[in-house]
Subunit: 212 residues, 2 copies
DNA sequence: CATATGTATATACAGTTGTATATTCATATG
DNA sequence: CATATGAATATACAACTGTATATACATATG
């Protein structure tokens, strides 16, 4: 049954193609909740009912998009981190890698950023899962950094969480801005991260009784 | 023409009542884009066309909601700040005041948090406006603190921005969680803010060449 | 009282939506 | 070739949408 790549009607359609159609519609700053099943099907070039072959409904498609966005984003950041160990401008290159995902042709990151606090619980759960992956990887990185530099970090888990949330918040802000105006926002984000890391180290020295 | 408070049909309806109807619908974690004009009208107890007496469309209603949410939130925070000057647990009480807005009967803050990165540009512009108000007030507070404590702050505008974005991000996360599980999130947020402030002060001491 | 004005409603219409059902087509297997 | 199977489509339907138009009502003013 392999010969289905070709020239005529009734082609097999992959779920990925349906997802791509949805992303295409989302590119003009719409949120998933404004997409209709029929509209997505139309864009994908399939009949409305064919949609059901791939997803139970639009919500299920959305969760798949969020997962995909998270996976590919994590991969990109991990690559950026591997190129240099976390110190000096590793922060910058990670932030740049993150932001550069806003410019890719398939704007999956936009979905992730936009559905963070929207829609059914399943969406937010899915996004939260991705954020947690990030936090964990970042916390490990911070712990590794402790050993390397000798500077202890106060509550590395929290520092990682703060950085993650901040980067995503700034990413969402950057997504609303034309590509060539993002430079300053990257710089700002880098400085903010530095503040957090510096502060976490400073608090570690001062002692832990600063929470009241 | 004052006698319209009363017992029978064809009552005058205020725009506020229409807004309240929308908020009521939004309380079950729906985003504005899922509301229809007819549904809002139905909830407000008016005929569909009466909606147009108050707003051009649902988008205009939404912007009004965002503005209102921002105004009332700023007021609450300002009150919290006035009760104590910004130091020690002024941070905590501000964060608590912020989070407590999640529990009010009319959940306007939810709208603000949920429409941050959704919908038409007008929404995001409206939310951005509110965030900027916050940042400005907070930056002024940080500058005042500089004079009081003698500790300089590195890039107070950026520190204010970082804190603001972080608080809103944590607020959005807290909004998705039952009321009695928010305590820990408040604590986390307070510590994160402390990291930023501490870091900004520490960077001010170390010098400014840490941005590359 | 007459009537103008602002406010709310009723009816109607065309467009879209999600999905149930029946059908067509393409392929793989007997 | 016959035919079973899976994939895509066509048709249909009721529900809902935004809004245009016409109408009813309440109040204020003459």
């Amino acid at each position: 049954m392999n010969n289905l790549d070709n020239n005529a009607a009734k082609r097999q359609v992959s779920s990925q193609e349906v997802m791509d159609a949805a992303v295409k519609l989302l590119e003009s700053n719409r949120s998933v909740s404004t997409l209709s099943l029929r509209e997505i099907a139309r864009t994908a070039g399939i009949a409305p009912n064919t949609f059901y072959r791939h997803f139970r409904d639009v919500d299920e498609l959305t969760v798949a998009l969020i997962d995909q966005a998270g996976r590919s984003l994590r991969e990109v950041i991990r690559e950026a981190r591997q190129r240099l160990s976390l110190e000096k401008s590793a922060i910058r290159s990670s932030v740049e890698a993150f932001m550069s995902q806003l410019d890719t042709e398939q704007k999956y990151l936009h979905v992730l950023l936009r559905e963070m606090s929207t829609g059914p619980e399943a969406f937010r759960k899915a996004v939260d899962r991705e954020l947690n992956y990030f936090e964990e990887e970042l916390r490990d990185e911070l712990l590794r950094l402790e050993l390397t530099t000798g500077h202890k970090t106060y509550e590395p888990g929290l520092a990682a969480k703060a950085i993650t949330r901040l980067v995503f918040a700034m990413g969402a802000a950057a997504a609303d801005v034309p590509k060539d105006e993002r430079g300053p926002m990257i710089n700002q984000t880098v400085i903010m991260i530095r503040m957090i890391m510096e502060g976490a180290q400073s608090l570690a020295v001062k002692g832990e009784d600063h929470t009241g």
